[in-house]
């Protein structure tokens, strides 16, 4: 299929065809994740700076977090990533039906994540906490920064989940019409990379936003 050319000593060399370049697609995906990491990295740097400036306020503000919902979402996301990994393995083994089931499970869990997030944000809105709300403006500078970052980061993360759900339906379509199969599964594999990355961000959101409030610091 691919073009073969010969050098002066008649050694054969395969020319990489950009249409079917799995390693290229993989590198592209990693580079994309790389840019995503720098994007979220920007928020984490901002977090670090303000955490340094307003340590006590951050700890106090973190006590407003609902740990049950946060914990539930952590587990949901963790299992969904596991499901997607399974989906890829089953696809590789040419067990398309199982692969599809795991993909559907991932979609369901992703939607569950968004629903939980909706309740979490609703609860905060209910307490009068949203960006620029009068309650929030009445709180400390640090609390303003904390919630500003919290809503930005979880909002952006939620947006990634929603885009992920859309993309998963697209991937599902490709599985259904056979464009993704046991021989060509790079799209599914790349999507799994994206999903693991979204999970990875959440792994760092949890300690920085939910868990610091449980420490004994900042009580004064």
């Amino acid at each position: 299929m691919s073009e073969i050319i010969y050098d002066k000593n008649n050694n054969a060399h395969e020319v990489t065809d950009f249409n079917d370049d799995v390693e290229g697609a993989r590198q592209g995906m990693w580079l994309f994740l790389f840019t995503e990491l720098m994007l979220f990295g920007g928020i984490f740097i901002t977090y670090a700076v303000y955490f340094f400036d307003f340590t006590d306020d951050f700890v106090q503000a973190s006590k407003n977090m609902n740990l049950w919902l946060g914990g539930l979402n952590t587990v949901i996301l963790l299992i969904s990533a596991g499901c997607l990994a399974m989906s890829v393995v089953f696809m590789k083994a040419n067990k398309v039906l199982e692969s599809k089931r795991f993909l559907l499970a991932t979609i369901a869990l992703a939607i569950a994540f968004i629903v939980v997030k909706y309740f979490e944000w609703s609860a905060e809105f209910h307490h009068g906490i949203w960006p620029d709300s009068p309650t929030l403006r009445g709180m400390s500078d640090g609390a303003n920064m904390y919630f500003g970052l919290y809503f930005t980061l979880t909002g952006l993360h939620g947006l990634h989940i929603i885009l992920g759900i859309v993309a998963m339906f697209w991937v599902l379509g490709k599985v259904n019409n056979g464009e993704i199969n046991a021989k060509k599964f790079i799209v599914l594999e790349n999507f799994a990379l994206y999903w693991d990355y979204v999970h990875l961000v959440w792994v760092f959101v949890v300690p920085l936003f939910y868990m610091i409030g449980l420490s004994t610091g900042g009580a004064h």
Partner: protein
């Protein structure tokens, strides 16, 4: 495409591997949320333990779920490079945050009335 055939044995191995990692991650998640209960510490301790836990989880995700362990050198290099650059940005911002309006700062130390 990968030249190696994906055998039934590979399939079994991978299922078990992902299962193990999933269990390990669930366990670590449990530890994450229970940590303040059994090693109740001050802010520094909590933050440190939490970030160590998150880093271990992150490592497991990247190495196994995202199969970095078997990826090409270019991809590995990309990841190390990103983490390095991000680290540098943190360090430089840290220096500025730390020094700003502080007696540690180079010339400001002379200011008595600050």
């Amino acid at each position: 495409m990968d030249t190696k055939e994906f055998t039934e044995k590979d399939f079994q191995e991978q299922i078990i591997m992902y299962g193990k990692i999933l269990a390990l991650l669930l366990f670590l998640t449990g530890v994450t949320f229970l940590q303040p209960l059994f090693i109740s510490q001050g802010l520094e301790g909590t933050l440190f333990l939490q970030l160590v836990l998150a880093s271990i989880k992150g490592f497991l995700i990247v190495a196994y779920y995202m199969h970095l362990k078997t990826a090409s050198d270019v991809i590995k290099g990309t990841v190390y490079f990103t983490v390095f650059i991000l680290g540098v940005l943190f360090v430089i911002m840290g220096i500025d945050s730390n020094m700003d309006d502080s007696v540690l700062d180079m010339f400001q130390a002379v200011t008595a009335s600050h």
